[in-house]
């Protein structure tokens, strides 16, 4: 037998650390860093396997003219399927998510998303359909989109909608272009759009891209738009106002009727930022409040998981008078004669006529086409390369149909109940800048805490990570000092709320500098140096050396 005494007679094969798939980075077994895929790469390794096609194997020289031919392949990582799986599975262990725990990130509505929606989004008949296929071959998709549009219109109290915008911000810009088109159509050149100082950053950014200037109105001591201030800025230059209601403070704009009235009298339009719709589902509708244009964040209210930052979907619904300006083509029900059913916008456009023709051609085999595409007569045009984030739209319809009208209202009730319970529970522990019942989220503040012990909102946020909760949104809305914006959502239980409250109590009680200042310590990495990231930009692996 050989025993260590023989001494190591062979030198190890590698000079420095070899990398190559060691699992040391699985948080389960410590916090070592996970190498990048490029560091795991070894020339000649492979995962890919492609179908045998028997197509003649012409060489690149036969297929691509020299001037266009690349001389060497695109350098990518070369790893085995085993290392590919190890790498991304370990990365997933370095990522917090709703499925791991509570995620009370204000304004983001990080509710639990039912898994049934994943099944829907993966249905072959939905996931593998080419967006350019003719309508008579995609009647199922068209019906799905029409049903969703109708449901969203009912939920918002609007007349018609476009499903094209890929996210909330895209919906905002679409809405602003609708405002512009409307005023143009009425021979007006309006230059300004009003937004409250509590608005989300995408609002002003979209206003600029819409070609308008931003006019900001302050909030009053009750956390709502100051009516006087608003009236003072309303004039013939104002194209409209963008509001989210409940606003980003989680408060309902009580004077919404007066505002709508004032804006309309000034000839402006009201835009509703639907990011906070979760609070009012089935309770009150933007349309009934007097809004003309509404965007929805399906990835917030309608249970599309957020995917680490997307995809989402930001449909825009409008009142009847704006329908003819909507982006297109829009999915529509077809009448017997192949023309689109009237809904204010879907008059026969070239597209629908064409489709109808194709559909009639297809009928022989496809049967009568009940759905088609229509371009609104005065459409502002396309806002997406195809029909929008279709699979996200399918998830939303599934969610809406399972919950139903009754369930959606319960969603809003429970979301508001949770937020208010937490608000009351934490009163006396953190500041409550606007001490009124809130809607789906509550904005607390760490100002007193900071004064008392120097602990800032960011410290509270980081400490909560150690306690097993994702942090709330901090320092937003901007008008609140040391803001901690908490949106528990309706899917968290009372027990989770209490656990969160206790964690926040504990933290509020901790001395500055100590625990709180250095948190988090149990996470895969500690606080990161954001300044350095910006100062010495390394945005790709190639920029490292």
């Amino acid at each position: 037998m050989s025993s260590p005494d023989d001494g190591a007679r062979r030198a190890p094969l590698f000079a420095e650390d070899p990398g190559g798939g060691v699992a040391a980075s699985a948080p389960l077994v410590g916090d070592a860093a996970e190498p990048t895929l490029f560091e795991l790469s070894r020339p000649g390794r492979r995962s890919w396997q492609l179908r045998t096609t028997d197509v003649p194997a012409w060489g690149i020289d036969d297929l691509v003219p020299e001037a266009h031919r690349r001389t060497s392949p695109v350098p990518l990582a070369e790893v085995s399927e085993r290392d590919l799986v190890g790498h991304f599975t370990r990365l997933s262990h370095r990522q917090f998510a709703v499925d791991l725990g509570a995620y009370p990130l204000g304004s983001c509505t990080m509710k639990y998303n039912p898994k049934v929606c994943d099944t829907v989004a993966a249905l072959p008949g939905l996931a593998d359909v080419h967006p350019g296929a003719p309508g008579w071959l995609t009647q199922g998709w068209l019906e799905l989109l029409v049903r969703l549009e109708e449901a969203l219109c009912e939920i918002t109290g609007m007349a018609a909608a476009t499903l094209q915008p890929a996210a909330g911000a895209a919906g905002e810009l679409t809405g602003l272009l609708l405002m512009r088109a409307w005023h143009d159509a009425h021979g007006e050149r309006r230059t300004r759009v009003v937004i409250p100082d509590s608005a989300h950053g995408t609002n002003p950014a979209s206003v600029t891209l819409g070609g308008f200037e931003v006019t900001t109105v302050p909030s009053n001591e009750r956390g709502c738009v100051d009516m006087e201030a608003l009236r003072s800025v309303l004039d013939r230059d104002v194209a409209g106002i963008m509001l989210t209601n409940p606003n980003t403070l989680g408060l309902f704009e009580e004077e919404i009727e007066e505002m709508a009235d004032a804006v309309h009298r000034a000839g402006g339009l009201l835009y509703y930022d639907g990011a906070n719709l979760n609070a009012i589902l089935g309770v009150v509708r933007p349309g009934d409040m007097g809004f003309d244009i509404v965007h929805l964040n399906l990835h917030k209210t309608f249970a599309t998981p957020h995917g680490g930052g997307g995809p989402g979907a930001g449909p825009v619904a409008v009142s009847a008078r704006l329908a003819e300006f909507l982006p297109g083509p829009r999915p529509v029900r077809l009448r017997e004669d192949g023309a689109a059913e009237e809904d204010g916008a879907a008059e026969d456009g070239a597209r629908v006529a064409a489709e109808a023709r194709a559909d009639r051609a297809g009928e022989a085999r496809g049967g009568h086409a009940r759905y088609g595409w229509a371009m609104p007569p005065r459409s502002i045009g396309r806002v997406h390369g195809w029909h929008g984030n279709a699979l996200v739209l399918a998830r939303a319809l599934c969610y809406i149909e399972v919950n139903g009208g009754d369930g959606l209202r319960r969603v809003a009730e429970r979301a508001v109940l949770n937020a208010n319970w937490l608000r009351a529970r934490l009163a006396g522990v953190y500041d409550i800048p606007f001490d009124r019942p809130c809607m789906h989220e509550v904005v607390l503040a760490a100002s007193t805490l900071r004064k008392r012990s120097g602990v800032r909102a960011i410290d509270v946020a980081k400490r909560l990570l150690e306690e097993g909760f994702h942090s709330p949104t901090v320092y937003f809305p901007l008008i609140v000092d040391e803001a901690l914006m908490i949106e528990p959502t309706e899917t968290e239980s009372l027990q989770t709320l209490e656990a969160l409250a206790r964690a926040m109590e504990r933290i509020a009680g901790e001395a500055a500098g100590g625990e709180v200042g250095t948190a988090p310590r149990t996470t895969p990495v500690r606080r990161v140096d954001e300044a350095r990231a910006a100062r010495q930009l390394v945005a790709t692996f190639d920029a490292r050396r």
Binding site: Q95, V214, V402, G405, A534, A539
Partner: protein, 459 residues
């Protein structure tokens, strides 16, 4: 009653009591009574999951165009590529799917590192040093690229080749209404852009071209580079990421901005979305880069870590002065693309590109042999896909071939509108068919397609 709410009746009562409220309605006291919705939403009652799943599965079954039922020869920016089980499995990990934008880097290293790896690969595909963490889709990437170029040059005139996908141009026109850009669409002649001789509305701040363009043609990017030099314009190339496996990169051609549609990198056809907007640019434009950017840094203990950086460009900080309004993007598709590219690797990507080119050649040669079928783009070299002039209206052909089990391609008129556009005439639009052949198409499938096509044109 079907929902996902944890609250028991008893707990609701307790919570209301704790709040000193008598009923759930009291929660909405701040909503003016006049506005409250009486009688609830006019939507059907909720139904249990299995019922809804049956219902939606029924809709799915009502899509004969499904690639599982019709052999797919359609492209035009959306392609039927291989997406292996391993990529689906990894991209489906709940941690990637159910997390928000990585605002707290300490618990988001998974998504952040995956995005860092994606940015690296996206930049390499573009032949440029920088790529962002994704935009909505190819069209939105084009718009953002144009905005960047206009901001960089301070000139609002934009020359856009009609070889860029008609839908993308349409989106560009839509948003130009807000930004006020002058969009000049240069027509195609036999698949090649005919750039304006002289600068009518002022010289261009941006010149944008497709590579390959939407008809599959390889344009002379050298000429575009020269035009940009002449006009001091930003050169923007809309490139297909898969063709990048065999073509020179936009970067090599001198582009400062390369955008593209990332769907071919692991995302299913999905009826058009969610897809993936690719955006890469030169160093000097970094502060104008739209969307999120992940950077490497260190944590308090000096360990390598990742974080979203140069946030000062973004709307939540810069508000009306932001380079873009994008907030939620397509992160999950970017992560998927990183996984798919990791699966393909250096050799795999070239192989896929090569196989697409081979299938394209094989199929095109055969179809051009059929009576009355001719190329729409003359002898201009094509990869990825190709446009044919068909003896019968393309729409009729697609219809007939669907009955034979094929999605024959895209009808140009469906992309350009009945009247055609700068890329094709009305007559070409009506008789124009755009055919794409991916690495998944076997010779058997192609031969059967050609036979059916033959029958369909004679019929």
């Amino acid at each position: 009653m079907s929902d996902y709410l944890p609250h028991t009746e008893e707990e609701v009562a307790d919570m209301l009591a704790f709040l000193g409220l008598a009923s759930l309605d009291d929660l909405f006291a701040s909503v003016p009574p006049s506005l409250r919705l009486a009688g609830g939403l006019a939507l059907p009652e909720g139904r249990p999951e299995p019922d809804v799943l049956d219902d939606l599965a029924g809709l799915a079954a009502a899509n004969p165009a499904s690639a599982g039922r019709l052999v797919c020869f359609a492209g035009g920016g959306a392609y039927d590529h291989e997406v292996p089980p391993v990529v689906r499995a990894l991209a489906g990990r709940a941690e990637f799917v159910t997390s928000y934008t990585p605002y707290q880097p300490e618990v988001a290293q998974g998504v952040l590192q995956a995005l860092f790896e994606f940015q690296t690969m996206a930049a390499r595909l573009a032949g440029l040093p920088l790529a962002n963490a994704s935009l909505y889709d190819g069209a939105s990437a084009l718009v953002e690229g144009v905005n960047l170029g206009v901001a960089a040059t301070g000139r609002g005139t934009v020359w856009v080749s009609s070889g860029i996908h008609p839908h993308w141009r349409a989106v560009l026109r839509t948003f130009a209404a807000g930004t006020g850009h002058q969009v000049v669409e240069a027509p195609l002649r036999l698949g090649q852009t005919a750039w304006p001789e002289r600068t009518g509305s002022g010289s261009p701040g941006v010149i944008a071209v497709g590579y390959p363009n939407y008809l599959g043609c390889l344009e002379d990017l050298g000429e575009v580079r020269r035009l940009c030099d002449r006009h001091g314009a930003v050169m923007l190339v809309a490139a297909d990421p898969v063709s990048a496996g065999i073509l020179r990169t936009g970067g090599e051609w001198g582009a400062e901005v390369v955008v593209g549609e990332g769907q071919p990198l692991g995302t299913p056809l999905s009826f058009g979305g969610p897809y993936l907007g690719l955006f890469a640019c030169a160093e000097r434009h970094v502060r104008r880069l739209p969307g999120r950017l992940v950077g490497e840094t260190v944590d308090a203990e000096g360990r390598r870590a990742y974080v979203t950086t140069l946030r000062a460009r973004e709307q939540d900080i810069r508000r009306e002065k932001a380079t873009s309004n994008v907030c939620t993007n397509q992160t999950l598709m970017a992560v998927t693309a990183a996984i798919q590219l990791g699966w393909l690797g250096t050799a795999g990507l070239s192989e896929v590109a090569l196989r697409c080119a081979r299938g394209t050649r094989y199929c095109r040669d055969a179809l051009l042999g059929l009576p009355g079928v001719s190329p729409l783009t003359g002898s201009t070299p094509v990869v990825r896909e190709f446009a044919l002039r068909t003896p019968v209206p393309a729409r009729v052909l697609v219809d007939r071939l669907a009955a034979e089990g094929f999605l024959a391609g895209l009808v140009l008129a469906d992309l350009t509108g009945e009247g055609g556009d700068g890329s094709v005439s009305a007559e070409e639009a009506e008789h124009g068919l755009l055919v794409a052949v991916t690495e998944r198409r076997t010779r058997t499938q192609i031969d059967a397609f050609v036979t059916a096509f033959d029958k369909a044109v004679r019929q």
